[in-house]
């Protein structure tokens, strides 16, 4: 039996009928066509599906669509302003923090949430913040550098 859920995604309100076992990840990818959120495991282990729920990172494969009722979701598609990249996205481009790109949307959202909470951050804090987001390609170093570069006062070396 489908149920109604209303939520805001990237500033836009949606009302949809969804099956109770539908995940937020499925809602975003399949119902809204927002395929920037990636599916890496479906089990909460990789972070590729991370989105912000009221500003807080969650693995959308573990969140039921119905749980998003009345809440605000930010996906990677909501980060840039039109075709102008967000500074953190730009930093990922410039620092070479992207390889295959599959972990990238989740990394950027988690990075943004971390910087919002800790603008003056350290490499160690950044590593902790993204430790639930797996990346098989980059060894994380350039991702950490990109996030630090967007901090208020990037501090070197603090781990």
């Amino acid at each position: 039996m489908k149920r109604f859920v209303s939520l805001t995604v990237n500033g836009r309100r949606y009302e949809l009928a969804v099956a109770p076992n539908r995940t937020l990840l499925e809602l975003l990818r399949e119902d809204l066509g927002l395929t920037g959120t990636k599916h890496g495991c479906g089990e909460g282990d990789c972070g590729a599906c991370a989105v912000l729920l009221d500003g807080t990172p969650v693995n959308s494969c573990l969140v039921l669509a119905l749980e998003a009722e009345g809440r605000e979701v930010t996906t990677i598609e909501g980060v840039a302003r039109g075709s102008e990249l967000d500074p953190l996205q730009q930093a990922f481009v410039e620092h070479g923090a992207v390889q295959c790109g599959y972990c990238t949307p989740g990394m950027i959202l988690v990075g943004k949430a971390h910087l919002a909470a800790r603008p003056r951050t350290t490499a160690g804090e950044v590593r902790r913040a993204i430790s639930g987001n797996l990346c098989r390609c980059t060894g994380y170093q350039k991702i950490v550098e990109a996030i630090l570069a967007c901090g208020e006062r990037p501090e070197e070396g603090g781990r």
């Binding site: 990818r29 927002l34 395929t35 920037g36 959120t37 990636k38 599916h39 890496g40 495991c41 479906g42 089990e43 909460g44 282990d45 990789c46 590729a48 996906t75 990677i76 598609e77 980060v79 840039a80 990249l85 996205q89 730009q90 990922f92 481009v93 410039e94 620092h95 070479g96 992207v98 390889q99 295959c100 790109g101 599959y102 972990c103 990238t104 949307p105 950027i108 950044v126 590593r127 902790r128 993204i130 430790s131 639930g132 987001n133 797996l134 990346c135 098989r136 390609c137 980059t138 060894g139 994380y140 170093q141 350039k142 991702i143 950490v144 781990r159």
Partner: protein, 787 residues
């Protein structure tokens, strides 16, 4: 420095903006009108005869569009090596591992497809599963494949130099062992395939593959289609690392379901299925007997390897050869014997993974070097420096060192790490370890026997003259080859990167063997250079004729075409014509030399579309012995790393605190990307050294098929890595470039193992060096040395 405008720079990846904004599309992001979803029925038993398979209830389920079983699937055998075609799309008489494909379903949605799969009835006669090499090699063991007598899928024997004489003259000889556990590629994107057939019967398969060409050949062969009726496209791919290089039943079933239904079909692996399908790193058992003289110079290596290959051959024949041949360098080794056996077992098939075949062998060899250094009282780096080859030398197994910055790599990591603070006496819980690595820069031969070029590139100038498109079949899986192709094209044409578009990963665009054996920069880079040069020559010829100058008077730089000694009036005529064509436009060229667009437009007006083509095939390479084709390469990358570790002697926990890595990639095409490959290599190597292990239960089932239970390094596990790019000039590479994508993993495991030894005095003989294994080794050592 290099004098290049683009090569050796740090240009941003072409695909980075789309990837950071979530617009990049991967296979599972695609949908088609009327698309069906596929699902596979996979064997729950590791070894069994199939008595009966009844799919009638599945076929009758509402919403099911097609069911594929042995009855209606092609029976053609396929595989990676033509000499070992041992797979079929679906199983018929037997299943050989948990995950072997039995049937496939296409239905209106995933839930229905999965339900249909659950309705297929199979009756099995269980056979004893052979779950390790001992069981498979035991006399009287059941045969997993009829063709593999004694469950041996490949047997390799190679010998070079006078081993016995070397053994007799050796000052020190030692025998050591090392084995690992089967690994997972653990790429973040699970395999996905989308197939569609057009109204002329042409099949397009969109797949997260790393070799569209091999997949297209396999699809055409198995489905019995003429080659022009098959197109394989890869959209963005979320990592591959080897396991995505072989055509799979996932891809073939999806194609067949699309043919059966006439509708697009998409099938996606779950993460568990990624583990079941595997085709990742083998389990290796290496034994090496090695001898050195009094000064620590290597005299011989007698090496035996057993590979647990799992149920099918996949890339495993090449694996069995690489495991031996890659030890021929970078050290002078006068005599080497290598014997290996690849054994089939009832586990998922193993194949190629970053550092194909050579990683565990290299790890053992490099730890042996440290033991020799210790016995001789030599610094381990000094011992290595005494043995490294130089440019121009040839190994005993005929690998030619056309460039080799091995010495430079070793000296660089020695000088830029804490090596000088390293204590020679092991113990104390902190340690520093060094190791070297060596890898091919592209396989010298294709997988199938052929004189084929290994890649082609077509570079086409827009008719407007304003932009350039590079078309290639190369496989961009995240390693950055699109950007490499653009950079080389930019350099040749003196044209900024933003004027160049790259289309790749599509068999309609050209032939390319794919992303494996660290081949793309050297090979496809060559072809891109040739194609761009052909474009340049065509423009030069037209311009030289129009201006009455010698071709040598024309140069391409900064988006301009500089002509020496041309008459101003003749130049002005070209510009006037260009401006007249663009009446009403803004930003037209004014003053200064001709723009690329003006010159290229003129070339089009004179000659029609300007297209340059390029190709590459390695020159004849050394070695006429059996198996020489695996290991010979037009060039070789080499590397050195130093790992600094802290080992908790109470818990056995290893923390890698710092890695200093140097890699000789020849001329770097893009320094940021070279570093990125080096980081990725170290990260995969650390995972393999310390934590990665596919665990099987007593029935042959993967016991940890998730990214929670199969641990790969997180940001917290990774140390700071200092990367040092060593640039030799590789004469066989485009602009002197060679590989970095795989070779960089080679030193990581042994550097960590040597550091662990330095910290604890224990040698690890089974990977990964988990806390349990370290503690066990410490305990064993204490038991041996009372007091």
């Amino acid at each position: 420095m290099s004098g290049y405008a683009f090569i050796g720079g740090r240009g941003a990846r072409l695909d980075a903006p789309e990837k950071v904004s979530g617009r990049a599309t991967y296979t599972d992001d695609l949908t088609r009108p009327g698309m069906l979803l596929g699902a596979l029925l996979q064997s729950p038993l590791a070894h069994a005869r199939i008595k009966r398979l009844d799919a009638s209830r599945a076929a009758a389920l509402p919403g099911v569009a097609a069911v594929l079983t042995w009855e209606n699937a092609p029976h053609t055998r396929f595989g990676v090596s033509p000499a070992r075609h041992d797979e079929t799309v679906l199983c018929h008489d037997k299943v050989r591992y948990i995950g072997d494909e039995l049937a496939a379903v296409a239905a209106v949605d995933r839930v229905t497809a999965l339900e249909a799969v659950s309705l297929i009835e199979v009756e099995y006669e269980p056979l004893p599963p052979l779950l390790d090499v001992e069981a498979a090699l035991a006399p009287g063991a059941p045969q997993i494949h009829e063709d593999y007598q004694g469950n041996l899928c490949a047997q390799v024997e190679q010998a070079f130099g006078d081993l016995e004489a070397a053994r007799a003259s050796a000052y020190l000889v030692r025998t050591d062992r090392l084995s690992n556990k089967m690994q997972s590629g653990a790429f973040l994107e699970p395999q996905c395939a989308l197939a569609e057939v057009d109204l002329r019967g042409r099949l397009t398969l969109t797949s997260s593959t790393q070799s569209p060409h091999y997949v297209a050949r396999t699809v055409a062969m198995v489905l019995g289609l003429p080659e022009h009726q098959v197109r394989v496209v890869m959209p963005r791919v979320g990592g591959g690392f080897g396991p995505k290089a072989a055509a799979s039943s996932l891809e073939l079933c999806t194609c067949l379901l699309a043919q059966l239904t006439g509708r697009p079909v998409k099938t996606l692996f779950t993460r568990e299925q990624v583990f079941l399908h595997a085709r990742a790193r083998h389990q290796f058992f290496h034994t090496m007997t090695t001898g050195v003289d009094r000064e620590g110079r290597l005299l011989f290596l007698d090496h035996e390897a057993i590979l647990d290959g799992g149920a099918y051959a996949s890339f495993g024949i090449a694996t069995a050869y690489y495991a031996g041949s890659l030890l021929g360098a970078p050290y002078r080794l006068p005599a080497m014997r290598f014997r290996s056996r690849r054994v089939v077992t009832n586990k998922p098939a193993c194949g190629a993974q970053r550092g194909h075949g050579g990683v565990i062998a290299r790890a053992l060899f490099e730890t042996q070097l440290d033991r020799f250094a210790e016995e001789l009282g030599l610094d381990p780096i000094e011992l290595r420096l005494r043995n490294v080859m130089e440019e121009g030398e040839r190994s005993c197994n005929d690998l030619a060192m056309s460039s080799l910055g091995m010495r430079e790599c070793l000296e660089a990591v020695r000088d830029r790490s804490s090596w000088k603070l390293r204590k020679a006496r092991p113990g104390g819980g902190r340690g520093v370890g060094a190791a070297c690595g060596f890898f091919v820069s592209g396989a010298g031969y294709p997988i199938y026997r052929s004189r084929t070029f290994h890649c082609t590139v077509v570079t086409r100038v827009d008719e407007s003259g304003s932009g350039v498109e590079v078309q290639s079949g190369a496989a961009e899986i995240g390693q950055g080859c699109d950007t490499m192709l653009a950079t080389i094209t930019a350099e040749v044409l003196g044209l900024p990167l933003d004027r160049i578009r790259v289309r790749s990963g599509d068999t309609d665009l050209g032939l390319d063997l794919g992303a494996y054996s660290s081949r793309t920069t050297l090979m496809t880079g060559h072809a891109a250079r040739e194609a761009a040069e052909a474009v340049r020559e065509a423009i030069v010829a037209v311009l030289a004729a129009a201006l009455g100058v010698a071709p040598g008077a024309i140069a391409f730089r900064d988006g301009r075409v500089l002509v020496e000694g041309a008459e101003a009036a003749a130049l002005e005529a070209i510009r006037t014509e260009y401006r007249r064509e663009h009446r009403g436009w803004s930003g037209l060229p004014e003053g200064g030399p001709l723009t690329f667009a003006e010159a290229a437009r003129l070339a089009f007006l004179e000659r029609g579309t300007i297209v340059g083509t390029g190709k590459y095939r390695p020159p004849p390479l050394g070695g006429s012995f059996k198996g020489a084709a695996v290991g010979t390469s037009p060039a070789y990358g080499c590397s050195a790393q130093i790992a600094e570790v802290a080992v908790d002697l109470e818990t056995g926990q290893v923390k890698v605190e710092r890695v200093t890595a140097a890699h000789d990639c020849g001329q770097a095409i893009n320094r940021t990307q070279v570093e990125g490959q080096m980081h990725g290599c170290v990260s995969m190597g650390l995972g393999e050294a310390l934590m990665e292990e596919v665990v099987f239960d007593g029935q042959g089932r993967v016991a940890n098929p998730s990214l929670a239970d199969y641990r790969i390094p997180t940001a917290l596990d990774m140390p700071e890595i200092e990367t040092i790019i060593v640039e030799s000039h590789e004469p066989n590479g485009p602009f002197g470039a060679k590989e970095v994508g795989e070779g960089g993993i080679m030193p990581t495991i042994p550097a960590v193992l040597n550091a662990i030894y330095n910290a604890t005095g224990v040698m690890i003989e089974e990977l990964p060096a988990s806390p349990e294994r370290i503690l066990a080794a410490l305990r064993a050592r204490r038991a041996r040395e009372p007091g």
